[in-house]
Symmetry: C3
Subunit: 204 residues, 3 copies
């Protein structure tokens, strides 16, 4: 089981690293700065989660994350240099996968050390969203997260499903895959149908 | 007494959450992004303080902060949706109240764990100012803090008054209320009379 | 030896504080905001390093860092107010010195607490680069680090040289001075000859 968790974690890091590389390319960054942006996007959310929970930061003693990041960057660069046109949705879809993996891993890690459900769900949001927020801040974009699309809210849904399935004594695998699928599905639907949540009435 | 501190802390979180909601509105953000911006503004400063002091982050085991944030957002949204014109000074005044509460709470928390006065005052500045800095960075504004107005310096004044009154054996309540009032007053005066501190001679 | 390390650390903080003041001036900031930007640039990288390594943050019990920062700001302001024209390279050179000092100090601190070489090198990058990244984010610049120039990569070189010399049982002093000189030299060459690393083929 912990092996499965580790693989999901590596996958999440990879897709976020890819999304970091894509945005670096779209902003005409170059060189090692691309590696830095990919790395920060890939491990930023989990790093903040571990700092706030005061547990050892997950990559301190595990170099496999950096191998994953370099692999992701290498694949992205190969792809970007062959391709003339980059499909616009690609960044959003890579981001959606990272979000789904990390949201659930974040909840799991907080539950592991005995945090209450509410805090665990917030940790999921933080793990899922924070890497992308740093990516957007460094690239001087308004973070995706703040634009009114369904974004953070998909992490909350995933977190609620996960904690409830665990409370109902479902297996860790079932809970994890269900919560990840739900988060991913809702996020992809939000991208596809441009679902926006309105809280303000702006004068038109 | 700890009850009083908790209430001041909740009040500080609420006014900063309101200031986050106001700026989200002025930037035409929407949906759950508003909640995220409000939350980050509300608890960002205290979270960084606790991380740096290496004490448990204050909201990990206490959900009342999130209830306070949601209350603040709800009130702001109701207000913003009724109002056509938003008074320009409102953001600054909400910010001033948050600054005054948090500056003093930050100093108090650092003194509690035996930090020297200087470090405690810096923790006050950090608690008071950092939430607003993240708010402005995410909304792509130059942080209020850096614009030359009396801002961080009002926190320092509050911190000095608080630590000195404590050293002179005044009661916690007296020290707290005096330091908060002084910080708030100086900040409101700075807003009203546009007091600016010059250190550079720019060629005109 | 620890005295030497402390002096290098103070020097690194000072040059970064100067670079923060210079950028604050170039952005027409003023007042205490300049002090804040200088402080964050000076101690931001080391603070993040200590938080991630979960060791006590270096300035909590040592006020000499703040004296160093205020000294650096005072010198910069005097200089900036006398000078009509500021040499354009000055910011980059101050930044290069800070980078060299901090990269090596970051590696050293991680090795001290028994981290593996890879993690130690990453800590060097983080200590060296992160202060400048916060500076650029707050001043709303695209961070130097992401622009494709040789920047983070000079820290990595310094880190590799340092860890290898230590592994080959060279003295701490030799390793430190060699690694700092190599980092500084490579960064200055990159500035002088505008060395850029390309990973993307952009269509022209």
């Amino acid at each position: 089981m912990t092996v499965l968790i580790h693989w999901f974690d590596l996958l999440g890091v990879m897709v976020f690293a890819i999304s970091g590389t894509l945005i670096a390319h779209s902003k005409h960054m170059d060189g090692f700065g691309v590696v830095v942006l990919a790395t920060v996007t890939g491990i930023g959310g989990g790093t903040l989660r571990d700092i706030i929970l005061d547990v050892p930061v997950f990559w301190l003693h595990d170099t496999s994350y950096f191998i994953a990041i370099f692999g992701a960057i290498f694949i992205s660069i190969l792809f970007l240099n062959r391709q003339k046109q980059i499909p616009k949705q690609m960044l959003q879809v890579a981001d959606a996968f990272g979000l789904a993996f990390f949201a659930v891993m974040g909840v799991q890690k907080a539950l592991d050390i005995g945090m209450p459900d509410t805090t665990a769900i917030i940790m999921g949001v933080l793990t899922g969203c924070f890497g992308g927020v740093i990516r957007d801040v460094l690239a001087r974009e308004i973070p995706l997260l703040l634009k009114g699309e369904l974004y953070a809210i998909t992490c909350i849904l995933g977190g609620i499903i996960y904690t409830q399935l665990i409370n109902l004594s479902f297996s860790l695998e079932t809970a994890m895959l269900s919560a990840m699928s739900a988060t991913l599905l809702l996020r992809l639907l939000a991208i596809r149908y441009n679902i926006v949540l309105h809280v303000f009435k702006y004068a038109n």
